[in-house]
Amino acid sequence: MKTYDHIVRFSLLVIAVIVGFFIIRAYMLPESFGTHGSYSYAYYRAESVNEQAALPAIHQGTEHCSACHVPQAALLAADSHANVNCESCHGSFKAHNNNTMDRMAIADTTEACLVCHLRLAARPGAFPQIDNFAAHLADQGETLTPDMSCSDCHDPHAPM
């Protein structure tokens, strides 16, 4: 028997390491971790899916705003800005939504309008664009004065 002692000792050591590995692994792994369909693509902590699904939506959309702001919504829906989301000009909805009644930002400066309506070679030709504010005013028979902005002539909710 003596001749096999070193093999037995070594085998016990190997078994101890393997058992130890599985014990530590069991403690280290989160509860829902494992394969959920395939080892290639679905080897994950299942609880993570629920955590992500539970995140609150921040962007609310025009429909949500329309519930209170009826006249503005009606103007918007009937005109060429119907597809422009409220939050695109008024900023993210969240602060307002939490019943703080914080006033929303209003981007009605000429610069804000030109983000969409400045003439660029990359924009589709049919989209309404102007080369610059002064040239557009000249086209309309007006002259530029320092305090003028797009909203003097165009209602941002119903620009046409």
Binding site: G37, Y41, N83, L120, P124, F127
Partner: protein, 248 residues
Amino acid sequence: MKHDRREFIKKAGWTFIGSGLYINLFSVGTSLARSSCSDMQNLYAFIVNTETCIGCGKCVAACRAENHVPDDCYRTWVERYTILADGSVEVDSPHGGEQGFEPLGLKQETIKKSFFVPKLCNQCKNPSCVQVCPVGATYVSPEGFVLVDEKRCVGCSYCMQACPYSARFMNPVTHAADKCTWCYHRIKQGKTTACVEACPVEARIFGRVDDPDGPVARLLASKRLQVLKPETGNEPMVVYVGLDKEVR
């Protein structure tokens, strides 16, 4: 040592039992079976129409607000491709296009054509980013969304290197890999993605593939479509209308 038939059959028997135990214990058999016919499905697709995009960057801003994307990081961004008369291609995306674009200051006749290409995570059918993750921190959800478990991510950035579309970044706040989720939380709440909602020209369309009356299925059936880098075999689920050969 004897070498007879009886001994051979005995050893063969033990080997058979042993390997059977091995396969069962480590569930090699079941995992192989699963990876070939998994229960994940790609239920959604995202269509980007480069022909209508005006490069206003409202999608980028909406995404930032919705997903708390830190400054100088982008889950979605808009690129401007300018193909010059001499055939050279210029691509720019200042601040991801979030504040719009300025004219390039080129003469009209030097520009052959120019267009905007919005980009985002392609939510691939065969996502290479998921395959390389060593800790199971990124995965495909049962609906086919490629998601990141920020609590499990160790920040090794292998996934960033594996993504052929450079859609991933290291989030400086969470110190985990981050990317577009197709607004998974909003979809689960029955809404559409923030960028789709913010787009004023319907350049972004999102919806179920299997709904025959939905906008996605209709476009998939009627338009000529292309995906980015089809040669990678990733099978992206973001498809483009009007994608030019210069776009990478």
